[in-house]
């Protein structure tokens, strides 16, 4: 069953041109994030009040912000925090969500009902309020923003994993392995998890895109990453009053967020098509 998703998948992905474009774009962002210290023309934290709200020039290709910091440098360094928030948040959500989903599908009965109930409660709770509450409780900072992003993604991850795992648990191979007394972890690793991988991968990439937006929405509400650390959402939300006077300060992070979220989605769609050839 894994064979179907195996050999042909990379080729199918490469045929999906939009997805390839997205992947290339993400690659560039990752390079920017890793290479920021070498690529950035300035220290992103150095304040130069005398030179604030500067337009684009040879010295500052994207101009400067309210405090005279170089926008391009902040954009490059901001890629690190923004990627950390979305990737870190979604991966932690996946770890928790997958555990919950697998446990529910495997144990069934009351465990399943309890976990489904929990997921339903979280899904019907207004997500922005949940995020605000997490940040208010933990105190503001990159760490708590990451937890807020994870809290947003956990129920979706749990739901997707449970649904895929349920079909796996009903299979003859699993029933047989259970009858033979194989260890739970072994069966899950060998027979259940592989079936979850492709829907999880597709869902995760889509969530990654949404996570970038959730983090930026939190910045809009004045929460999120702490200054002076550069983060795209904060740059955009604090630049929104400048849309008319110093447009690049808002456009640059806005375009960056859109591009990254879009790329994650495209890659997600490409992966879904590639891993599940029926589509």
């Amino acid at each position: 069953m894994t064979a179907r998703a195996g050999t042909g998948a990379p080729a199918r992905f490469l045929r999906h041109r939009a997805a390839v474009a997205g992947a290339v774009c993400l690659g560039l962002v990752v390079i920017a994030a890793i290479g920021a210290p070498w690529l950035a023309p300035y220290d992103p934290l150095v304040v130069d009040l005398a030179n604030n709200f500067a337009g684009p020039s040879a010295m500052h290709p994207l101009g400067t912000d309210q405090l005279g910091r170089d926008t391009l440098s902040r954009l490059l360094f901001g890629a690190r925090v923004s990627l950390l928030l979305s990737v870190g948040g979604v991966l932690s959500a996946l770890a928790i969500g997958a555990t919950l989903g697998l446990a529910a599908a495997w144990a069934g009965g009351w465990t399943d009902r309890a976990i489904v109930w929990l997921v339903d409660v979280l899904l019907s709770f207004p997500d922005i309020l949940l995020a605000i509450a997490v940040i208010a409780a933990l105190g503001p900072g990159t760490g708590s923003t990451l937890v807020a992003v994870a809290a947003y993604a956990v129920p979706t991850c749990a739901r997707v994993v449970r649904a895929s795992a349920l079909t796996a648990v009903g299979r003859d191979s699993v029933v047989a392995a259970r009858a033979l007394g194989a260890s739970t972890l072994w069966i899950i690793r060998k027979h259940v998890w592989p079936l979850c991988v492709s829907p999880v991968v597709a869902q995760t990439t889509v969530l990654l895109g949404k996570a970038v937006l959730v983090a930026s929405g939190l910045s809009f509400l004045g929460l999120g990453v702490q200054p002076p650390e550069p983060e795209w959402g904060a740059m955009l939300s604090r630049g929104r009053d400048l849309t008319r006077t110093a447009p690049l300060g808002a456009f640059a992070p806005g375009v960056a967020i859109t591009l990254v979220a879009l790329s994650f989605s495209l890659v997600g769609d490409g992966l879904r098509d590639a891993l599940d050839p029926k589509r």
């Binding site: 605000i132 937006l213 879904r272």
Partner: protein
């Protein structure tokens, strides 16, 4: 009918869980509603008096018991911030949020299904990629930014539409456009995926060979089968929009539920948060239940 009743009944434990969660969250986060309500230059006596009158100095389990029994009797209490009954505050905002959500989902359905069908029919051709990428651009843009850009272009530069407010249907065009386009991406994606599922590659090949008449078949048969998942996505979107439009409501100055709840959190207005969250969660689970029932109507295999 029995199915519908069962679906509604299943929402009860979820709502109970939501009540517990909102209560716990409100008491776990820092911030004293009495201090905020009293204002910055209030005396500690005033703050203590307000705290007492709100019942905030009683033990937690007593507060929760009181909250639950009041809620069950349909009494959501009085807002700390405004001094008005929570139920009135919610009722005043509900119509705006409902209108915004429903109109956005209708727009999302129109744009999303069309885009999804076009993409599916042209599977893996350039039109597929272009259409899907375009519908995803709106989803990928931070909503408040999209809203401000639309406002700048349509209201200030072109002068076609009013910039803010909720007085006339024209006022809703820009917010509905913002939210609708953002939801359209998901609908398009679901439509495309389901259609590809239903059609299969052979069907596509055959359809293309037979030309026009198969186009009708596509619409009737394929879309008929795709209706269930599409309805599910739309249901989820309405549910999500009912709670999650605070950013767009703030930008367009629409007095909706999202803004009300965020304002309430900022002021730690417990009764208002509890009331708002319960109403939003109730509509969410009811819409989900309704979608399930509808799906069962459309697809007999799902009937249990």
């Amino acid at each position: 009918m029995r199915h519908a009743a069962a679906a509604v009944l299943r929402t009860v434990p979820t709502l109970l869980g939501v009540s517990v969660l909102v209560f716990l969250i409100m008491h776990a986060i820092p911030g004293d509603p009495a201090a905020i309500a009293a204002g910055l230059d209030a005396s500690p006596e005033t703050v203590a008096a307000i705290r007492e009158s709100l019942g905030l100095n009683r033990p937690l389990h007593e507060q929760f018991g009181a909250f639950l029994s009041r809620t069950l009797r349909g009494d959501f209490g009085v807002s700390i911030r405004t001094g008005r009954p929570v139920i009135e505050e919610v009722a005043a905002r509900m119509p705006y949020t409902l209108l915004l959500s429903v109109a956005s989902v209708v727009l999302a359905a129109l744009v999303g299904v069309t885009a999804g069908v076009v993409a599916a029919v042209r599977h893996q051709r350039w039109l597929d990629h272009v259409v899907m990428t375009l519908t995803l651009v709106a989803v990928s843009t931070p909503s408040y930014w999209l809203a401000l850009m639309l406002m700048l272009v349509m209201a200030v530069w072109l002068g076609w539409l009013p910039a803010i407010g909720a007085a006339t249907p024209r006022h809703f065009v820009l917010p509905v456009l913002t939210l609708g386009l953002q939801s359209a991406g998901e609908v398009a994606r679901m439509t495309r995926a389901t259609l590809l599922d239903v059609l299969g590659d052979e069907f596509l090949r055959a359809a293309r060979a037979r030309g026009v008449s198969s186009r009708r078949m596509l619409w009737r048969h394929a879309l008929g089968n795709a209706a269930v998942p599409i309805a599910t996505v739309l249901g989820l979107r309405i549910g999500g929009l009912l709670a999650g439009t605070v950013l767009v409501e703030s930008v367009f100055a629409i007095p909706g539920l999202g803004r009300m709840m965020v304002d309430a959190v900022v002021a730690r207005d417990f009764p208002m948060i509890q009331g708002g969250v319960l109403v939003v969660a109730t509509s969410y689970v009811l819409i989900n239940a309704a979608t399930d029932v509808l799906a069962a109507r459309l697809d007999p295999r799902l009937r249990t």
